[in-house]
Amino acid sequence: MSYTQRLMMSLSLVGLLALVSAAADWPAFRGKDGSAITPEADLPVKWGKEEGLRYKVPLPGRGLSNPVIAAGRVYVTACSGYRHRRLHVLCFDETTGKKVWERQFEATGNTACHPTTNMAAPTPVTDGEAVYALFATGDLIALDRSGVLLWYRSLVGDYPDITNQVGMASSPTLAGDVLLVPMENAGDSFTAGIDKKTGVNFWRSKRTRETTWCSPVVVRQGDKTAVLFQTRSEATLVEPQTGKVLWKKAASELEADLSAIQSPAVGDGLVVLSAGELIALKPDLQGGEPKELWRGAPGGAGYASPVLHAGRVYRLSQVALLCFDAATGKELWRERITGPFDGSPVIAGNRLYAVNNKGRTTVIELGDKKGSVLARNDIDDTIQATPAIANGCIYLRSDKYLYCIGPKK
């Protein structure tokens, strides 16, 4: 081995040691486990179109996916070109915003969709060592942090009857070495657990043929981990490694119209399902029946998913933030804010960030009896993605730019 090779090997090993995903990373849709919460506090409160930005970098195309951040990298997906047929996975340096690499792919599935969405609607997921990007076309890509292609799958090539021409948007998640892929659709409908190292199925479970936009969330209880999928017709908790159903609640059994859009909220030992009103369940990861604690908390509307945080449940309507008691579902307060919202709210410390479609972020201090608007920050850009928060910065992605809001370095 030459000197150069040894040097490069050493540099790489040093790099690998730094890959432990930190608590302040934002690895998936709505952050770690899909909770929409970061333990970080003292995030930026005020910014503007040009003020308060660490960087603003151009993107090659549209996307509803949120940036994911881990181990010094920011990953973003986008789509461009005629009928969104070009798919992009981009990697930026977290500190500087400099593009580290970009990989492009051709859509293998149908790109027909409602004009409000696009092929980069699902958010990728990262474990710090690699990023796993699913597109609405059923193209599933694994790249390591250096841009090395680990594996690629055309799910539509594998299962040609996959179809959702409104446009798929459910995001994959990770549980250990298993990549959980939600592919509930109007044709060959399924969920799958895929080996993140090889891209080969651990398991694939048929699901009801119905369009769904909910994303799965990771539920943890002691040393047990499970993944909760929600569709219009059922909520299903599965064991990630095997796909074994731990419990399943049909909408008919719940006597509720489960949402096919808003994802479940997870936290405080609870899961909350959206069904017009909310249904709070205490899950049992040993396979026992979940206990229904309450149902209520009406008023959430549109695409934004609820958030569970510190004994409270928060929902966005198109005109207000609503706060409910997580123990009872009783409304505690509401604060008027300006929508409409395509993305979901996220919480850092005791502040909630809600970004509307016109690029206005309302920052709200969460109190026991009321919410206080700390700032309304306008960047005058179309934003449909949920914000991401990592290591002291807030990330917004529009159709054209990735914004990193935070102190310059």
Partner: protein, 379 residues
């Protein structure tokens, strides 16, 4: 610099950890990637080959790009990022060869996707590339390159101050335009200049149909049921349809420039019902063609008695060219049969029952054909 170091370290590791025997030559590495199968079969082997391929550096660019095929996008999606990984690093080190890239772009036998990728990296090296190459790409076999060439003429026409010059430029753009959005933009501009475009002819729209309904599709039962028209097309035949209603073929010609056939307007708003649409397509030669069809309903397509497409999805939109089906047209008369399935959804937005179809080449330009009356005796 960090990006370069990261990429370089990956290449070095890839080379150092694998023996020369494992590495093989460029061609065999590409072949290992081309063996990827369904459900991740061959991924592990392909991933190893991918690293080795990238480690070969700029010399692998030409073999990678020339190995791509437009009809095998799975392999394209393995090879393209390999090209990008090499090109990214080579560009930083001033080792990316414009000559190699231009050679790939110039050879129209290469896959359109590969040529387009080479073109984009060539532009990074030489910003005169569009003005040098695009004027000659108006009839290019790569849809992406052609689209850009057409756009260039549209832009020039829009800027022209002289009406005659604008008209000539739009007409020239139209010779290459294949995408409906571009064609209609040009037709609209020409229309304002007093020059009418026969859109249906330009698109290769199938306008003349024989239609028959109602066949039962309550509870979705008709999707897998082969009603008589699927067994034999005879437009003189009469069938017993849904609820015992008589079903006879009706000749219908659409005057819609996109070829839209609105079944609700012809038969009324029938729910839980299937209609068949048949066209007799005379082709001057045996050839590959691309049938571009759309329907907001469940749709099956049969050509010369063989099912060539099926998609059971309802009321999720209907863009023109929604589905592209590669077919072989026989010389002479071909029987095209569409099965258009309306479900029983009651929502206001779920009432449409319609389809459209056109016959094109790979790029989307009309192929030579004409619709003819039904042959006697059925087919």
């Amino acid at each position: 610099m960090k990006g370069y170091l990261a990429a370089a370290s990956v290449l070095v590791i890839a080379v150092s950890l694998l023996t020369a025997q494992e590495a093989g030559d460029t061609r065999s590495l590409i072949e290992r990637i081309q063996k990827v199968g369904r459900e991740g079969k061959g991924n592990v082997e392909a991933a190893k080959a991918w690293k080795l391929l990238v480690a070969q550096g700029p010399t692998a660019i030409e073999p990678i790009l020339t190995a791509m095929r437009d009809d095998d996008l799975t392999v394209v999606n393995w090879l393209r990022p390999a090209f990008e990984a090499i090109a990214e690093s080579a560009l930083e080190q001033n080792q990316l060869s414009a000559e190699t890239l231009e050679k790939i772009v110039a050879n129209t036998k290469n896959a359109g996707i590969a040529r387009r990728a080479a073109y984009e990296w060539l532009v990074k090296l030489d910003d005169s590339t569009p003005s040098r190459l695009l004027p000659g790409m108006l009839l290019d076999p790569s849809p992406d390159l052609r689209r850009e060439a057409v756009n260039r003429f549209i832009d020039q026409a829009a800027k022209a101050t002289d009406k005659k010059e604008a008209q000539e430029l739009y007409r020239k753009a139209l010779t290459g335009a294949a995408d409906p959005e571009q064609v209609e933009k040009i037709a609209d501009a020409l229309g304002k200049l007093g020059d009418k475009v026969d859109l249906a002819k330009h698109f290769g729209v199938i306008s003349d149909w024989y239609l028959v309904t109602p066949f039962d599709h309550r509870d979705g039962i008709g999707w897998n049921k082969a009603y008589p028209p699927e067994q034999r097309v005879d437009v003189t035949a009469t069938y017993v349809g849904k609820n015992g209603k008589q079903a006879s073929w009706l000749a219908h010609k659409t005057s819609d420039p996109r070829g839209l056939v609105d079944l609700n307007k012809i038969f009324g708003p029938l729910k839980g019902t299937i209609a068949y649409a048949c066209a007799f397509i005379e082709s001057p030669e045996t050839r590959v063609a691309y049938l571009r069809v759309s329907s907001i309903n469940g749709l099956k397509v049969f050509l010369n008695g063989k099912e060539v497409f099926a998609r059971e999805e309802y009321h999720h939109g209907m863009p023109i060219d929604q589905y592209t089906i590669r077919v072989t047209l026989n010389q002479g008369v071909n029987t095209l049969l569409l099965k258009v399935c309306q479900n029983e959804q009651t929502e206001k937005w779920a009432q449409e029952w319609k389809f459209q179809a056109r016959l094109c080449d790979f790029v989307g330009s009309a192929v030579p054909f004409k619709t003819v009356p039904a042959p006697k005796g059925g087919k």
